[in-house]
Amino acid sequence: MIRPLIVIRRVPTIDFMRWHVFGFAFSILLGCVSIGLFAAIGLNYGIDFKGGTLIEAKTQGPADLAAMRAKLDALHIGEASLQNFGDPTEVLIRLPEQPGGDAGQQRAIELARKALGPGIDYRRTEVVGPTVGAELIRAGALATVLALVAILIYIWFRFEWQFGVGATISTIHDVVTTIGLFAIFRLEFDLTTLAAILTIAGYSINDTVVIYDRVREAMRKYRTMPFRDLINLALNETLSRTILTVSTVALAVLSLLLFGGEVLKGFSIAMLWGIVIGTYSSLFIAAPIIYYIQPNRRAVPRDAASGEPDTTRPPPGRPTNRPRGA
């Protein structure tokens, strides 16, 4: 029989609630900084949202960025930004949105190709006009808001409203701080980043739901236990799951970040941050919020819909022998 090599045998007894005030303070600070940065310096929008032209070019030798920039500047099509992209022979060129509406964008790319001359392999070209850019921003914002609302409706439906509030706040926290991360490090914010943010929202809620499920279960079982202990118990009981799941998802995302290529870098960074902050917020934001807006314990049915037995099992650590029907 193959036994696991690493086992967390005992349920830990960490007093999470002791730290929740620090968690709140830290998160409020983080949230305010994020909102402040977003308002003050904004996001480094990719061309998906801003409009403009993006060219990924591969030169034969190491790329001479200064020479290429000089050639592009001579065209007077706005300030071109050039940067190496993964490899010294690969250059990412961004041209700002051109005047003349949607039709105006097309000219710039032709001019740029002519100016840069032959010997360049154009690996990727993206041109987004102002019409589409504005629509993508709108659709993106709408998707984020709708996703949050839809997920919350589901939680409202499955849990009491207090849990819904907790999940909302912690998810908004995760979305806001991810946006803050992109603002402070000037990471490019494009369509895939938006996809990452929605996935983060899904993941974060997922994590929160697992803990809330446990809180609710504990509410049914230990009807007289102080709420503070109840939350601690739920967090400790799910801690090993939390750690293991974060690890597997982080491993998958890490391999994306390391091997998935330059195009997925923004997505992977956002996801990695989202996994960490999503886990943190489930433990230190979502769970403690329930302590402040306690659901009415009498409203929680004694017998769960799943046929949960109304045990008065003592907290783990002192196991009693109560085998049930096999």
Binding site: M1, I2, P4, I6, K58, D102, Q105, Q106, E110, D121, Y122, R123, R124, E126, V127, V128, G129, T131, V132, A139, L142, A143, A147, A150, I151, Y154, I155, L198, T199, G202, I205, N206, V209, D213, E237, T238, S240, T245, T248, L251, A252, V253, L254, S255, L256, L258, F259, G260, G261, V263, L264, S306, R313, P316, P319, T320, R322, P323, R324, A326
Partner: protein, 525 residues
């Protein structure tokens, strides 16, 4: 008691088998697949343009311009209707999608109404008591005309693209006035864009020789005339840069049945042929105007203005005018495909070269494989035999995902591959939840079987909740996302569904089989 009915066992094994069968073709190249005898399902995952290389164009049909165009063509009818009824008018023009004019004599308003009512039943006519008249298409007619313009544009774009020899283009309507064009394998769409950017409306109009364009500009345009500039190449080669031509179209390009690029005196030219009606009109027009120049006008630019030497009854002719071989064959192509009913603007363009596509597939595959290996090792370290069960389920999950993607004909994009990698990490979450629960139940002193049973049933609610929330995000992304992001939404959503199956049922089946076969005394957790 953990028990599986035989039909359930068969069903689970069957689904897994199908997943493997449908995902297998993806391991081979199309060339290798050609060797396998037919009759076996061989669908491969449909790769998005960012992976296979190609060009994505989002076009917008300027439906407003199409309407103005139609009104402009009706303005002549209004002019002649009023003239025939001998009703005086001023200010006949097209403004804000309506034909506007003013009737001079207010007593004649009723007569004007009767005269104009016959022109087009879809036009609504209003004439105020001050004589100010307005004709515009009814809302219903406008909508109909707009959708017609878009449909027609799609048809013509398809013809133009087919003529360029692009393989497997996708051309479809998006929203009310957008057209999405996908051209696999095209890594420089400049030529296609140039072809799509032209309306290619060809007309033959008489040149007004009574005065020069400069004179007309000074003294006011003679009624029914317009000044058109010459095409750039023509103007460069010493031809006049502007022409004064009669508005009335002698023959339009819509009556053309064929156009070919050929040579005349070693110069590239375009030969064309009219249908019967066009041939007759062209013959009549040339017979009546021998000795006068007529302008060949493309998109309101004069290509050339030869003098009619004699009547041309045969219905075919030649356009010459400083063409290069390429521009002659492009014009022939455009004339063959027909004119667009309205100008088209390119809103968005995304082109990926084949090298980058191949690199992306490679990087994505490596990331997925490394991700799977890491997760597999991790699960084994932390759960031993049960981790192995979860790992086997994970591999089936991957097969099921690939199989469903192939079967559904869904498009796999680079973000889609990210979705696969991510789902693989999240799929084992269900196993983690179950196993942790089993451990807890064991700790609380339950027997082995009851712990297993309780672990599965109690974790199920939580697993369902977490999957539904992810699925909600996935569906919204699919709904509101575009292009590559849609690909991510597809793999994420499919992955959530298949992992629900594999992580719960496949794992459970393995555990049950293990229980029956080896009759273990305890759970190795």
């Amino acid at each position: 008691m953990l028990y599986f009915a035989n039909w359930k066992v068969l069903l689970i094994c069957g689904v897994c088998l199908l997943g493997v069968v449908f995902s297998l073709p993806n391991l081979f190249t199309p060339a290798q697949l050609a060797w396998i005898p037919h009759g076996i399902p061989l669908k491969q995952v449909n790769l998005g343009l960012d992976l296979r290389g190609g060009s994505y164009l989002l076009l917008e049909v300027d439906v407003g311009a199409a309407e103005t165009e139609q009104l402009n063509s009706l303005i002549e009818n209004v002019r002649s209707a009023l003239r025939n009824a001998k009703i005086g008018y001023t200010g006949l023009n097209v403004e804000n999608n309506a034909i506007v004019f003013t009737i001079r004599d207010q007593d004649r308003i009723e007569d004007a109404r009767t005269a104009l009512a016959k022109i087009d039943p879809s036009l609504t006519l209003t004439i105020g008591t001050d004589g100010a008249g307005k004709m515009q298409f009814s809302t219903q007619a406008t909508d109909q005309r707009r959708s017609q313009a878009v449909e027609q544009s799609i048809e013509i774009i398809r013809r133009r693209i087919d003529e360029t020899g692009t393989k497997e283009p996708t051309i479809q309507q998006q929203g009310s006035d957008r057209i999405l064009v996908e051209l696999p394998g095209i890594d420089n769409p400049e030529h296609v864009k140039a072809l799509l950017g032209k309306t290619a409306k060809l007309t033959f109009q008489l040149v007004d020789t009574s005065m020069s364009p400069e004179e007309a500009r000074r003294r006011g345009l003679p009624p029914g005339d317009e000044i058109l500039s010459a095409q750039e190449q023509a103007a460069r080669s010493g031809q006049p840069s502007q022409y004064l031509v009669k508005r009335r179209v002698m023959v339009g390009g819509d009556t053309l049945v064929d156009a070919q690029a050929t040579f005349q005196n070693n110069e590239p030219v375009v030969s064309f042929r009219f249908d019967t009606a066009g041939a007759k009109r062209f013959g009549d027009a040339t017979r009546e105007n021998v000795g006068k120049p007529f302008a060949i006008v493309l998109d309101n630019k004069v290509i050339s203005a030869p003098v009619i030497r004699e009547a041309i009854p045969g219905g075919s002719g030649i356009i010459s005018g400083s063409f290069t071989v390429q521009s002659a064959s492009d014009l022939a192509l455009l004339l063959r495909a027909g004119a667009l009913p309205a100008p088209i603007t390119i809103l968005e363009e995304r082109t990926v070269g084949p090298d980058l596509g191949a690199d992306s597939i490679h990087a994505g595959a490596v990331a997925c494989v490394v991700g799977v290996i890491l997760v597999v090792v991790f699960m084994f370290l932390f759960y031993g035999l049960f981790g192995l069960f979860a790992d086997i389920a994970l591999v089936f999950n991957l097969c099921l995902m690939l199989g469903s993607l192939s079967l559904l004909g869904a498009t796999l994009t680079l973000p889609g591959i990210a979705g696969i990698a991510l789902t693989l990490g999240m799929a084992v979450d269900a196993n983690v939840l179950i196993y942790e629960r089993i451990r807890e139940e064991m700790r609380s002193g339950r027997t082995m079987l009851s712990s297993l049973e309780a672990g599965f049933t109690r974790a199920f609610g939580t697993i369902l909740d977490s999957h539904v929330t992810t699925l909600v995000a996935g569906i919204l992304l699919y709904w509101l996302g575009s292009g590559p992001v849609k690909g991510f939404a597809v793999t994420l959503s499919i992955g959530v569904l298949t992992s629900l199956f594999s992580a719960i049922l496949v794992t459970r089946l393995q555990i049950v089989t293990w229980l029956r076969r080896w009759k273990p005394r305890e759970i190795p957790l």
